[in-house]
Chain length 307, copies 2
């Protein structure tokens, strides 16, 4: 099948500048596509390039411009998974690197482990030569303001606030390359005002992302605790194994998450045949996809018909 990449810049209720949100996912899809159209370019490199483009863009809640914890620090989570052999790497609670997904890739390729957290992950990164940065370099004025606004909503629970009042602009990408390999990656700063040490779905294989050449690849976003409880990414692939299209699977798993745990979110999927599907239950999701046949397409709302 011909190569394709799909990216998301989070599922949210957009109170944001839609033009910069959309431009950001377009740039990310382009970065991934540039890898795929290079001879020998792999799905794994493509999803990493796409996600790193968004980590470096302060518009998104990943890398630079991540949401802040209750202590006003950035703690990042990311995962990357290779559908060719189910190999995966992930980090959680890292505070001193520019690219969490880059560190996750190194965990996958340079350790016997899948998931490294906190200082253990940071020390590993330092040891293999990934530059150490100060946490302040990741903190933006916009996120400080969001945290300040949250603190005035002291009567609302974090969960309600995060569900209803702001975005979950986690980023992610899925891709299929010319050799039939799929991959997925997801990166996030979590949710504003989270407890230090809180980890959501994003770095969790099966929840934040999943990839299996036999089926396809998925990356998710949304209320992390809800996504975790229903293993959203893996569930989508199961539904495809059971015969659903990526589009049908996307809608089905988001409906299931709403029914079972009253959680909202979004998902992007690529099937092993290059068919894509994406959807959200939040109202808005920044998305973009790119392929030879369809070129670059993007938007900031989802195709759910019942919205």
């Amino acid at each position: 099948s011909p190569p394709v990449i799909v990216v998301h810049g989070g599922a949210a209720v957009c109170d944001c500048d839609r033009s910069e949100w959309r431009a950001g996912v377009e740039a990310a899809a382009h970065a991934g596509w540039s890898v795929l159209e290079t001879p020998g370019g792999t799905a794994l490199d493509a999803v990493q390039a796409a996600v790193q483009a968004m980590e470096a863009n302060p518009v998104f809640n990943a890398g630079l411009g991540s949401c802040l914890t209750s202590e006003a620090r950035v703690e990042m989570d990311a995962v990357i998974m290779n559908g060719a052999d189910l190999s995966a790497g992930a980090v959680a609670g890292v505070t001193t690197v520019k690219s969490a997904v880059g560190l996750a890739r190194s965990v996958m390729e340079k350790t016997d482990h899948v998931l490294l957290i906190g200082q253990g992950a940071e020390k590993f990164g330092e040891k293999i030569g990934i530059p150490v940065i100060h946490n302040d370099e990741l903190v933006t004025e916009r996120r400080k303001e969001q945290l300040a606004r949250l603190r005035t909503f002291h009567n609302a629970t974090n969960a309600d606030f995060n569900m209803k009042m702001q975005g979950h602009d986690t980023v992610g990408a899925v891709a299929l390359d010319s050799k039939g390999n799929v991959a997925s990656a997801t990166s996030t700063g979590g949710i504003t005002g989270k407890m230090p040490g809180r980890v959501g779905d994003s770095p969790i294989v099966g929840s934040g992302a999943y990839a299996d050449n036999a089926v396809g690849a998925a990356s998710t976003t949304g209320h992390g605790e809800s996504v975790l409880k229903v293993t959203l990414a893996r569930q989508a692939l199961w539904r495809m194994e059971a015969g659903k299209t990526p589009k049908e699977a996307a809608k089905a798993v988001l409906d299931d998450m709403m029914a079972k745990v009253q959680g909202r979110g979004g998902i992007i999927i690529v099937g092993k045949d290059g068919t894509i599907g994406f959807d959200c239950s939040t109202g808005d999701m920044a998305w973009a996809h790119c392929s030879e046949s369809k070129g670059l397409q993007s938007g900031t709302t989802c195709p759910l018909s019942d919205k």
Copy 2:
């Protein structure tokens, strides 16, 4: 359906004292059963009691007597999940509490989050009054010796060593109570010689454990990286949704893990109707189950016929 509890004390190649391993799972099953036979006793309390019995027993790789990191420290992971509403709590990389599963239960009930890691989890525990202990209090001579032996095997990778040479004596429990609620819990010290910050499957919803009243509950053990890659616990419940018995589902998912990622492990399952199933692909697994009709049964090998 009448109540039932199933516990495991890890899947391994036993080079251990089988009698103390078996006595440990029997005591844990008894602790869980004591909860279930009390009027109003819940599956959630039962799995916690069973796992805490094993965390307190130095025979098992959880709590006191956990496997040591490459820096000779204990870093513990645990999860607990309530099938009634898919609520879940988990901790990873905690070093200063006696019971990781107890702290996970508090994350579930006293925060808006599912997973807390490292110092964030520890500070939360301290804040709600859980006693802080020194890491040394969790370290046993036996685990120091295992780490020393590992260090002499410097030509073997951690993965090979851990797959072939020693146990994964993670602990777990699943239960069904008289009201039809299921729950599961899993707790571990990980693997000997792991990198600081390494987290396996045990605290991960969908990999280390899953519980859903609509289907049943599962707890897993084995090579954590492999279990993560195939979301073993959630996969087992999916196969039951598709019509398999717990016993068939246990065998099917362990076969799948071997085929896809060449990983070994074990799983215990209880269906919503009280049917149980368990199996392992490691050769040995300490297990025990208890119900009114069958009483207490236990063993240290698995029922796989092709072994």
